[in-house]
Subunit: 599 residues, 2 copies
């Protein structure tokens, strides 16, 4: 028996009891779908994930890709797994039928993709980067670009990357130095260096399509002068056949602590002056194009973090149920049999914390995916706009919160295993190493904090925050009518009021002294994240209360567990925000006032 | 230039300004010593650590010890480093002159050892296990055993281990199954299996002396029937020469996430019925002998965790001072030069948190070492007894707090480095992997919580806690007379009152329902730990205030940094205990009431 990737009951609870995903089938785009087609997609994903992805997770970690100066090689299982993924149609799952897609809602594709991530996060990196890349070309590429690049990407013949980061710029995209000189034929000559480009080279596909941020000389300084280019590894002829090698060179592979199966590359563009790129859309709009796709990419990172946490949680749960050790503290008789360690309150604490983090994170990420669907296909224009607004607000949380707390779940999974958890004979240490990437890439924790406090909560005069407040109040109202949830409802109502007060204080300060107001934005991010998760947990508890009313006896254990995890979150986690509010409102100045020479 | 292992100014501040280590030279045992001999010992340690230990940290990680079924091999640098350590006399540094020792106070040996740990924690594992082993034999072994085993251990010819853990028992020592059958000649025949035995096999020394916990048949059940045995790898003849191979077999090496240079072994004793052991002290007293040495061993683990955090902090600090990236949030001009990332408030937050964790942990561990010296050599009997009491109370904190928070420091060091921190081209990812062991071995986090709440704070009718309260009040008084420390003094005074109230609530509950009272003991441990560290930080600030008064201008930056870190701790860290107190006093039942089938 292979280890479980997810609690399938939980997955279906989130999809159908929390998010009512089935209701999407009433929309024209999803009219051919039904609960049955959704479940069939999940079954297919789960089977391929278990049989093709999960089976080489450790092997890929122990045999990372090699570069001999000519080509990159890796274990053959990666390509086999990806072929199964492609053959099952997942590369185009969300796309139109006439592009070979399945027209699945994003909620469903994210649910399916979560299984691949849980099974093998580093092998999953290749298709998910390709899907993100294809989404950009679909949205902003010309018809000719769609023909030349999008179709082979969706068919899995080409893979894609996002080539943003440069050695001298890091998170500061305004400082990228890659140049794109216009040529007479309408193409651009690209020169520059990129770093940390995941999947930047490999032999898994016929071609690699890099989406490259570069500056056209003479454009505005900073981020306003960034344009977006398609730069293929092999040039593509107008008839779709592959032409000669483009001047994109792998300068080297980067060796990481985890996530080892995904190549991380340093790429050199135009060393010989022969790197051709195709402008996507208008000049100087590159960053805004990338940002249009950022929400989905960031939810995807959050989901990856969740799933690593989820795998670790299930492994720790299995271990704790099987491992006999020790006795209850009050039991003095050393000759009594040892109990399973799940009987120890402290082990249950560690399992319950993991459950609260990973199931909460899972529901959060799928809630955001559902907002993408609302934004794309809600019948009502206001609903579409509001979904987009809420999504913008929640995206930094969906990216950062799982990256922090599901990593903590991985640490707890190690701890439940004791010494065994620290060994490479058990899987949990790898999840911990793999997950440590997530607070760094796709916008660091600090960047997410600046995005949330410096942009999202204040944009449109606080419209997104107000909308979120109304959503929370709806949940508070619903929960308030369920006797056993009333205390949680009161706590969440109080918490959202605290958020409003703290945000107003900081927004006022922003006008006076931006540096001071933003100095503690990471704390704001963490406080806001825990409040969002309290909302997510209370929404789950409300959904459970409907199930309990129906007296679905077989599900009762599952529901009791949900309520216990909700209670855990409200008793153990939400109160952590109290000192954070105090610190934020005081514009606590210690870090800002600290000087370089005092360290 | 090799990277710094520690801020030497900080080390000397703790030794001489905080702990007045020089005053120990007034005691007869240390009469030959002076500040100069102490500094000379530190210089020697630092030089060997930098030149012999730090130079193969990464290499040892990438080339872990191999077992070919016959012997264990490892990179030659380990043995060279250990020979330099032995040649400089550090194996016997705390021991009597007539045993070849230096009669250094434990405060000084711990300070010296911290440098080796910071330089290379896994190579340091071999001598520090040997030293712990030697301390047990010195204290409880017979004169013959001291002659046969202690002298070669102190000379570095033999190395030692502590063989406690068994596969089926883990942390539950009452369930160990290794048997010791008395033989006619007074020896015992040992049979059983041990796991996770660090340094359990290697070719670094002529012999390996295992200290093995085993049960003599017919003894009391549980921990009261555990005896302690010396089991050498090679038998030792009465004239000190090595005899034949004892029946101790390496069943296999364990492959770990980090700490890879220290072999972790599964050992099989008496498979052929030929494993001879020598009883240490009286039968059935084995655990109490080991516990006598536990305080020092646990402080040693805490110090290891601190030093991994310290190395990461210094690496992150160097990086942040050199790396240009981005601009201040309020700076809108993308053509202005990028600032060093240390200019960003959030990077300063991460550096200040690391500084607070590692310098706080360092001062805590050396404070505990100083208590060992007080317990051993204070002129006054009451002082010796009280030092022992306080040490018993603080030991679970010295072990667990750095294991938690200096690991967090390592995570922050990665984060400061951004993507680079996640690569194996930079050192910080290894520190993070190495440090993850520390919350597990030498008593897990959960075990430390039970020790603190179930034993230490209640023992002798709360005598240790009362004594600690008086010590804290002394610091509060001193700080209260320094204007800029008054708010911290008030906060610490309030915090210790909260500890008293919470502890009384839990102590009352212990009498009624031990399982309920102890269910949240990990939270108690964390709350208590943060309170202890607030005390440590305020003591440092008081020491600084004396330095500032003397207008030592050259030190002013250093002192300002100490005060900023103290302020950080009081503003950002101590308030985290508030929700913990609320949870503890409510005997919050969620984890205890959670059921296996609900997960």
């Amino acid at each position: 028996m292979t280890a479980r990737i997810i609690n399938r009951r939980d997955l279906e609870f989130v999809l159908f009891e929390l998010l009512d995903t089935e209701s999407l089938t009433a929309r024209p785009r999803f009219a051919d779908h039904s609960r049955e087609t959704f479940l069939a997609a999940l079954d297919t994903a789960e089977a391929i994930a278990a049989e093709k992805f999960a089976t080489h997770t450790r092997k890929a970690d122990e045999n990372e890709p090699q570069f001999d100066g000519q080509r990159v090689s890796m274990i053959p299982e990666v390509k086999e797994a990806l072929q199964a993924f492609i053959d099952a149609g997942f590369m185009a799952a969300a796309h139109d039928y006439d592009l070979g897609g399945m027209q699945l809602p994003v909620t469903m594709t994210q649910a399916c993709f979560s299984l691949f991530k849980g099974a093998n996060v580093s092998t999953s990196g290749y298709p998910f980067l390709t899907i993100g890349n294809a989404n950009v070309i679909r949205r902003f590429g010309s018809l000719a670009q769609q023909e030349k690049y999008l179709k082979p990407l969706l068919a899995g013949r080409f893979f894609g990357t996002m080539a943003l980061t440069e050695p001298q710029a890091g998170s500061s995209l305004s400082d990228i130095a890659t140049r794109a000189e216009p040529n007479a034929d309408g193409s651009h000559s690209i020169t520059g260096n990129k770093i940390f480009i995941s999947a930047g080279d490999h032999d898994l596909s016929e071609n690699i399509v890099h989406l490259v941020l570069a500056k056209i000389p003479g454009g505005p300084p900073g981020v306003k002068g960034i344009s977006l280019f398609i730069v293929p590894k092999f040039r593509v002829n107008d008839d779709g056949t592959l032409g000669e090698r483009n001047d994109v060179q792998l300068a080297g592979l980067i060796h990481k602590m985890g996530y080892r199966g995904t190549t991380s590359t340093m790429l050199s563009f135009g060393e010989k002056g022969q790197c051709r790129g195709e402008l996507v859309g208008e000049p100087h709009q590159g960053l805004s194009y990338m940002f249009h796709m950022m929400n989905e990419a960031r939810i995807g990172v959050g989901m990856g973090a969740v799933m690593l946490g989820y795998r670790g949680y299930l492994a720790a749960l299995d271990y704790a149920r099987e491992r006999p050790q020790g006795r209850h503290p009050a039991s003095k008789n050393p000759q009594s049999p040892q109990v399973r360690i799940i009987e120890h309150a402290d082990v249950r604490r560690m399992l319950l914390a993991q459950k609260a983090y990973v199931e909460g994170g899972y529901a959060l990420c799928l809630t955001c995916a559902r907002l993408v669907d609302e934004q794309n296909s809600a019948p009502d224009e206001t609903a579409r706009r509001e979904a987009g607004l809420l999504l913008d607000l929640l995206t930094p949380i969906a990216k950062s919160w799982p990256s922090q707390w599901c990593l903590e779940a991985n640490s707890l999974a190690i701890q439940v295993h004791g010494g065994y958890g620290y060994t490479r004979e058990y899987p949990v240490e790898q999840y911990y190493r793999d997950n440590r990437l997530n607070p760094i890439h796709e916008g660091t924790h600090g960047i997410q904090g600046l995005d949330l406090l410096g942009r999202k909560v204040t944009m449109q005069e606080g419209a997104a925050l107000k909308l979120f407040g109304r959503e929370v109040q709806k949940t508070v109202q619903e929960a308030g009518s369920v006797p056993q949830l009333q205390s949680h409802a009161l706590a969440l109502g109080a918490a959202i009021t605290e958020v409003a007060v703290t945000t107003r204080t900081l927004a006022d300060a922003l006008g006076r002294d931006g540096d001071a107001a933003l100095a503690n934005s990471s704390v704001y991010l963490e406080m806001f994240g825990h409040t969002v998760l309290a909302w997510i947990w209370l929404r789950q508890a409300v959904a459970v209360s409907r199930g309990l009313t129906f007296k679905n006896a077989a599900d009762e254990d599952f529901y009791r567990g949900k309520l216990a995890a909700c209670r855990y979150f409200f008793q153990w986690e939400l109160p952590k925000t109290q000192p954070q509010h105090a610190l934020l409102r005081a514009l606590e100045p210690t870090c800002r006032e600290m000087r370089n020479e005092w360290f």
